[in-house]
């Protein structure tokens, strides 16, 4: 049985992730979905564009998944990240963890999204009404 679904995708499919996570041994599933917010740095956001160094991003996500599986008893794990243009309200990242008990599901899910933001080579350009910026690029 495949326990991990890790992909770079055009569009996040919540239903696909949920179906993958369902397991007779799991009592709790925690799903985190990151969506495009209409504001950032006090400005109105029009859209985001995501770019990934896909082979390395997948490798880094797999390392995080392995680290989570060593720390917590995980039945199933999903990590999906979208690339391309995303409008306000659209999902851009999905992390899902199914475990026998909810504590592991919550804790591992939180760990995975926090670490993904630190190490996975994916870049976000934020487009405001008047300009655009690569997020985190400058101090």
């Amino acid at each position: 049985m495949e326990r991990m679904l890790i992909k770079i995708v055009e569009d996040i499919d919540l239903q696909e992730a949920y179906q993958f996570l369902l397991s007779p041994k799991a009592g709790g599933i925690d799903l985190f979905v990151g969506t495009v917010r209409d504001h950032a740095q006090g400005k109105e956001v029009v859209k985001l564009v995501f770019e990934a160094y896909a082979p390395m991003a997948l490798k880094e996500m797999e390392k995080l998944a392995a680290a989570a599986q060593q720390q917590w008893p995980i039945e199933k794990l999903v990590m999906l990240h979208a690339v391309g243009e995303k409008l306000v309200g659209e999902p851009v990242v999905l992390i899902g963890v199914a475990s026998a008990h909810r504590d592991a599901a919550f804790t591992a899910c939180r760990f995975l999204i926090d670490e993904l933001k630190k190490t996975v080579p994916i870049w976000k350009k934020e487009f405001y009404q008047d300009n655009s910026v690569w997020v985190n690029a400058h101090p």
Binding site: M56, T119, V135, A137, H138
Partner: protein, 79 residues
């Protein structure tokens, strides 16, 4: 040696990848970063700049060999 470029590094250089002239004697990741910083000073203004070798984060002392896939990794902002 070809360097893959992403995000803001792609915009700074103006291309998806960059060829390091073979006359340059670049043996380590650290030397590559120094050379790039001299060629494209805007790279020095980034919050951080990592190099990946064969899709793994590389240390400055790591030696570069022909045939490796090398990429510049500006500050990530996924999620």
């Amino acid at each position: 040696m070809e360097i893959l470029l992403f995000g803001i590094t792609r915009e700074i250089v103006g291309r998806n990848s960059l060829e390091v002239p073979s006359k340059e004697t670049i043996q380590t990741v650290g030397q590559l970063k120094a050379w790039l910083g001299a060629q494209y000073p805007a790279l020095n203004k980034l919050s951080s700049l990592a190099v990946a070798v064969d899709s793994e984060y590389a240390h400055d002392h790591q030696t570069l060999s022909p045939g490796q896939e090398v990429a510049l990794i500006p500050p990530v902002s996924g999620g």
